[in-house]
Symmetry: C2
Subunit: 347 residues, 2 copies
């Protein structure tokens, strides 16, 4: 079933108007042609339903009006949110978001980034799994890259929207300590295949400074796995349940490095008949919309997703258009959204 769905081409418009294709091309983009001709061309184009073929245009101009958006792991609900927001943002500027998911795999991440570059995306927005990979360097040389969340240490990026993780971590741990917590479990989305992030270090530093005990555990974003992990953590809970094998005493508070993980903790807590916000304190990181409607609402660190998306898109677009920007490194300050999930430590 051949689809002879011919698009009208520039040539056809040219023939219809008796002009050369070049004239039509110019006319349609309002370059040095007479008002009348332009009008005539416009009309003919409209009648024939002509629309420039973006592919052909891309071949010669090298631009595609398309921006690659590479999510480190779309299992993470917050990243879904972010990607959706970025997509809207780009669309508002007449660009298309080519959204891909690295699934948490650093190698796939780079492979996809390369593919994107080959697809001639005008720019690339990435929320990297492995920000320190060397591969970014070549990619960033070929296309403007804006990274979100972490700086690409080995590449010259066109911009960065970073989160002041240290401040966020300090804020949360300070807060929890203020509530009397001394044993805190920290669940980070750092899997075995992912390199260590400085965040882990910040946590330990803050813990040392505050004189509290922390146990940092890697945890998957996927809710089932997160729940399982949380279950293991809570099995060591102080109030009578069978003790696990962990060397540490069970925590009175859990600090989750993503709200997704916190949801898993909520589930595990419910199973263990622990009431979050009373028996157990939970703090998230990222502020996903769902966090607000949980019972109790999740206390979490809000970075302002909307602004992140806006800034990232703005940086990318500026780079694409070759404009200079004042600050190409945006540092988002944490805002602790204090809701009901963290309470004064009991006992």
């Amino acid at each position: 079933m051949a689809r002879p769905n011919k698009r009208t081409t520039l040539r056809e418009v040219a023939e219809a108007t008796g002009l050369s294709t070049a004239a039509v091309s110019y006319a349609l983009r309002g370059k040095h042609v007479s008002k009348e001709t332009e009008e005539r061309v416009r009309k003919a184009a409209a009648e024939l339903g002509y629309e420039a073929d973006p592919i052909a245009r891309a071949l010669v101009s090298g631009r595609t009006s398309t921006v690659g958006v590479l999510a480190g792991d779309l299992q993470d609900l917050w990243q879904q949110q972010l990607m959706a927001a970025i997509g809207r943002e780009l669309l508002a500027g007449d660009r298309y978001a080519l959204i891909l998911d690295a699934g948490g795999d650093p190698e796939r991440e780079l492979a996809l980034a390369k593919q994107l570059r080959d697809q001639r995306v005008d720019g690339l927005l990435v929320s990297p799994v492995d920000p320190s990979a060397e591969g970014w360097s070549k990619i960033a040389d070929a296309v403007p890259v804006v990274s979100i969340g972490d700086a690409l240490s080995r590449a010259r990026t066109a911009g960065e929207v970073l989160f002041d993780n240290r401040a966020g971590i300090d804020a949360v741990l300070d807060y929890l300590r203020g509530l009397g917590h001394r044993r805190i479990t920290v669940l980070t989305p750092t899997g075995p295949s992912t390199p260590d992030r400085p965040a882990d270090r910040y946590v330990r530093e803050a813990a040392d400074r505050l004189g509290i005990e922390v146990e940092v555990l890697p945890c998957a974003q996927e809710l089932g796995e997160a729940t399982a992990m949380a279950r293991r953590v809570l099995t060591n809970s102080p109030d009578g349940r069978p003790a696990g094998t962990s060397a540490l005493t069970a925590p009175t508070a859990v600090f989750c490095f993503s709200d997704s993980i916190a949801y898993g903790v909520y589930a595990a807590a419910a199973e263990a008949a622990l009431t979050v916000g009373r028996d157990l304190s939970v703090v998230g990181f990222d502020d996903h919309p769902v966090s607000r409607v949980l019972t109790p609402p999740l206390t979490t660190v809000d970075w302002g997703l909307g602004e992140i998306a806006k800034e990232a898109a703005r940086l990318a677009v500026a780079a694409i258009e070759g404009r200079r920007v004042r600050r190409k490194r945006i540092l988002c300050a944490p805002r602790l959204s204090e809701r009901g999930s963290a309470a004064r430590a009991r006992g």
Copy 2:
């Protein structure tokens, strides 16, 4: 700052090997060239880091290895989930998902679909806001379209993955009636700008058949708005709170046409000090991962997101490759995931 990042071209490989570009092109795709030449070309290509330019290739072949994925409304968490799953599915088949969000606007939806077609996506997956729009017809003639959720009534699609909404609705209402509920509020994601969906009709029919009262209210997907709506609904609750203006007595159960909306109901219930699964029964529709970790876990209708994504991708790919498929209309059967959010009606 010109970026003279030259890609190696076919011509360069040709010159390096002393062959014609055609020979190289053939060699790289293993067509009628001698083993030795092929080997030589492969080596040279590898050395020069040559990779075919997808844009140029697309211009001549008309294919882009890209599939448009158009979400009706990415505010809906379930659609986010779906898009992510489809993206993974397509990627597994070496195709790229160009994900766009119509934001619930039927006009924008068609506009985006057209853009996608012009971008020469090989296929188009769409979870339509307005499945009965006429515009789909022209689009479906130009590119294979697979619709998810609703059939495009006016277009010849390449495939459809539908949900047996009637069966799902029947199952839920049957179930709630069995629990003793006689007054049920149904919250559908049908806004004023969206045309009525047959789902509303199914609800009324089922209600008539079962002899129960339903109040069908349109409700936004966005959690804040959903919560506000739910608040209004629950203000009419039987146990002493100030009565609203609704003609109906307050419902003992709320049936939400998307899990997102159900989350809003959870939040409103908590505010009103109603315990879901005891004072108020809530049933969702779609089974988002979060639903499983709520307290109580949300009873909802599961359509098998993974399979939906797989089937949709399969249909699209088959159409793109010009293969015939046995059944191009997949009807997903509802599975009621009975968890803890619906209880026997009290009093």
